[in-house]
Subunit: 98 residues, 2 copies
DNA sequence: CTAATATATGAACATATATTCAAAGGCTTA
DNA sequence: TAAGCCTTTGAATATATGTTCATATATTAG
């Protein structure tokens, strides 16, 4: 079972992936570190918005930060994150059953 | 990579798990069908609220509906759902690294 | 039929939150 | 030092959404 605190923390983590831009951010740096500027360019949004979102993603340890000179690179935190995205992608690609 | 439509659909699915009550609903019927009334009682919320949430979860095929007499039983849709929840639970239980 | 139980639905509201804009830090080069 | 680039931060706003309440629909019992 799941107590209330665990449920809240889990939900908060899922909530972060529940926004299209944030989800695309995680996807974009799933396998390699990417700078904030490049992430913004890939998504077609402002660096400010990217930074706001990355802050939240990092707080939930969904991405990791790595500073290189004046640039900051982010990448998906661990294998769990990759696995969650992979499974959910399979889920939505599954044809209707029943 | 992930196109905009896929990202939106994926995000919408994650978004549904991003609410503590909805998440607890899925958890509560992860391994067996549970009636709306029992779900409401387990979570300590109204049947109305449960029904609202189940409708959304069902639309995303996160849960399945099964009618028995005047009761309606719901259960988690498939193995992907169970896997996503398991992986994310492991993620939040992981100790801080780096 | 009426009564009772279980579930679903619709509207209304209070709250949360994604986004934008402006400005500030930090680091590198000249 | 100053200038320029990259990133972060804070406030303001428009929108989305979880919850409640009242009501409706369905199914069973008497």
């Amino acid at each position: 079972m799941l107590d209330a605190d665990q449920a809240t923390q889990l939900a908060e983590t899922f909530h972060l992936l529940g926004d299209a831009n944030r989800l695309r951010l995680v996807y974009a740096c799933l396998d390699k570190p990417v700078s904030v500027h490049d992430l913004a360019q890939q998504l077609g949004v402002s660096s400010s918005l990217v930074s706001h979102h990355l802050r939240l993603l990092r707080a939930a340890r969904l991405v990791r930060k790595e500073k290189r000179g004046r640039q900051v690179f982010y990448q998906a935190a661990d294998e769990h994150v990759r696995c969650v995205l992979r499974d959910m992608t399979e889920h939505i690609e599954e044809p209707e059953e029943g």
